[in-house]
Amino acid sequence: MLFLSVSSLAHADTLLIAVASNFRAPADELVQEFAQRTGHDVRISSASTGKLYAQITNGAPYDVFLAADSEHPRLLEDAGLGVSGTRVSYALGALVLWSRHSDFVNGGCREALDNLGDRHLAIANPDIAPYGAAARQFLIRAGLWTEVNRRLVYGESIAQALHFVATGNAQLGVIARSQVLDARLPAGTCTWPVPAELHDPIEQQAVVLQRAAGNAAAAAFIDYLAGAAAADIVRRFGYGAPE
């Protein structure tokens, strides 16, 4: 009996994947579809890219890492903690200006940014969050940085930046497009897509981690992530799909 159940599971592996918290919702759906196709059991642990990176460098038992940038997977690959050659881009982040404030956004979010006055603009911390770094690039390239610098409040993640705007504590925020598609979000008063040329691409990359080197399920998951079926889901959640 035991022998039978073990042999019937011989090709179904359990994977533990570490997912950047901004990608948690699409990852849940990707994992579900992947499980249906392959029978592999995939479990998700999510936190900020920086925290997951620190966990991985300290021996956390993850098989695959889905980061919110390309920098951390590359660092892992260079350090020999990521399996070289397994790095793929699975999503492209996009930024939007968003507000739910009523009285100063009549002309739209972009105009509101020029008329910030003493209101607060929330972005993710550029030093620790990839979306924050992109938001800073946008503000610099748009020539607004020196002007809005004083009115910036920093979320420790893009999620907290949104949270500051959603609770009305900041009147405007530079957040991720994927976030404003979330049905749980209170209705906004304006949304303005930040042109992609105003910041470096937010390329979210995944990498197989050393403990899963040679693990067929991990390789299959990476293949699935880079494929067309995954791209559909990724796009539906507000991300761009790499080529």
Partner: protein
């Protein structure tokens, strides 16, 4: 090493400590003396910050202190500025967060004030206020010292609440614990080590001072 965040933390802790010593004096005195049926409930409320996760306090404060929150809206009408993302907001948050650490030692001190001494003062015609300042207060030095050290040290170590209502603004709300968190997250472990080391030494020295003074007082 950028010591700005440390200085900000020290200012926040000092202001919070002074405010708490003033606010908690009548509160602790009442708690120590009252026979009211409400006392256990009041004690439970005062002790809440010890058991509540900072995320719960931070969440409520973000709602309450924000421009549309009950306290925040009132403050905006009064001053034109909201309380979240400001140093003033952090002072309010810290007073709540460190409240039990000031109340508890003061209450213990007031409870051990001999009631007969107070009664003697009253018989001699002292008002209740006079009796408090001339009899109870001098006997409560230890309690005040402990309340000052603990509320200062606890505020210095505040992290979660500030993370949720501060907005991480340099010179305004980026206190030392937040600065350390930033350095760790951006993999600047050397800078994180330096700031953490300073905080560790500071915390140890403060607690050491308290326990040394305690021992002296016990020997007297």
């Amino acid at each position: 090493m950028n010591l700005g965040p440390l200085w900000l933390s020290v200012q926040l802790a000092a202001i919070t400590m002074l405010l708490l010593l003033v606010i908690c004096t009548p509160l602790s005195w009442w708690l120590a003396r009252t026979a009211s049926r409400m006392k256990p409930a009041a004690q439970a409320i005062v002790a809440l910050p010890i058991v509540l996760p900072p995320t719960v306090m931070g969440f409520y404060l973000l709602i309450l202190l924000g421009p549309s929150g009950a306290i925040g809206a009132w403050w905006v009408r009064l001053t034109g500025d909201a309380l979240t993302f400001t140093f003033g907001g952090l002072v309010i948050a810290s007073c709540l967060y460190s409240l039990p650490f000031a109340v508890q030692p003061l209450m213990n001190a007031f409870e051990s004030v001999d009631k007969r001494n107070l009664e003697a003062a009253w018989t001699l015609g002292a008002t209740r206020r006079d009796a408090f300042f001339s009899v109870a207060l001098p006997q409560s030095t230890r309690g005040y010292f402990a309340a000052a050290v603990l509320s200062f040290a606890h505020t210095l170590g505040e992290f979660g609440v500030v993370l949720m209502v501060g907005g991480n603004i340099p010179g305004e709300t980026r206190v030392i614990s937040i600065a350390i968190y930033d350095q760790v997250e951006s993999l600047n472990y050397a800078a994180a080590h330096q700031l953490s080391g300073v905080l560790l030494v500071l915390a140890f020295v403060m607690l050491l001072a308290m326990f040394v003074m305690n021992r002296r007082w016990q020997r007297q």
